[in-house]
Symmetry: C2
Subunit: 167 residues, 2 copies
């Protein structure tokens, strides 16, 4: 977890490719990037050690798991104090319906991304797990029509005018 990880164009290209498909072999990676496979291995190991690569996870389709309806819940927690929001966060994270949780600035303290079986399940989730709790002052529910996870965070082209300081 050294905090002085400097990234060159090769690192960026490796990250970009692996973000799209982490199952690529080092051979394929090497061919695409233009270095030796062992070099790719070294680079990836270094990025792992440096904390740039946090892990490798499975992308699963919630609809195929019986949760085709997704929504965002804006939640006000009042009073907004540490001893209340700690348990709140833990409780939300433990919900199987929860996909993501954001602590935000602004009038709504939290935004919760959930996936449920349908409208009835959504209603039940909101009523039983959120508004029923004393520290939850307000919940606003918005349905998700469509969602795009644009993983990159990286410039699509490896380096043209330079992506700026990334060390």
């Amino acid at each position: 977890m050294s905090d002085s990880v400097v990234l060159d164009p090769v690192d960026l290209e490796i990250l970009r490719l692996l973000q799209n498909d982490a199952r690529m072999t080092y051979r394929e990676l090497a061919a695409a990037v233009g270095v030796a496979a062992s070099t790719c291995l070294d680079r990836v190991a270094r990025l792992r050690r440096g904390g740039v690569i946090l892990g490798q996870v499975l992308r699963v389709d919630p609809a195929r798991l019986g949760r085709p309806l997704e929504a965002l819940l804006s939640v006000q927690v009042r009073p907004h104090r540490a001893e209340l929001i700690g348990p709140f966060v833990e409780r939300v994270r433990a919900l199987p319906q929860a996909r993501a949780l954001f602590h935000l600035t602004g009038p709504d303290d939290y935004l919760v991304h959930v996936a449920v079986a349908g409208p009835a399940a959504l209603q039940r989730l909101v009523l039983e797990e959120f508004t029923a709790r004393r520290e939850v002052a307000r919940v606003e529910t918005r349905l998700i029509f469509g969602r795009w996870e644009c993983g990159p965070v990286l410039p699509p082209a490896p380096a043209e005018s330079g992506p700026g300081p990334v060390g």
Copy 2:
């Protein structure tokens, strides 16, 4: 891509484990789940074919890539017509700062999750890529204090009273 994928507790446990760490070997997976490694292989292949498993991606730390500040932008696109929102969505997805994009019900049409280098970069992004566009009627920016991606979407325990219909 058959749409009749029925999941049993073994499938759910496999998915749950691989969602936390997709680098697990089939041996480790088999030991954890309590079945043969070849069975795990078959199950995972079936889940891939069935579209339950969409892929395997790298989790990267945006802060280590020079984008330590994250925010959510609520965007109103007016008029909210298909010929305007198509290009808008494509444009947003092409931004290297964009991490996710949601199309929502409610007064705000889109929610964009972005990661930037700092407040100045955020201001520049909002002004140049959003409010400068004619179809963007309003942008509301909220900073992200903290974020938890609770990947699961699955019950934490494999099966106690039954996770309900998930086929």
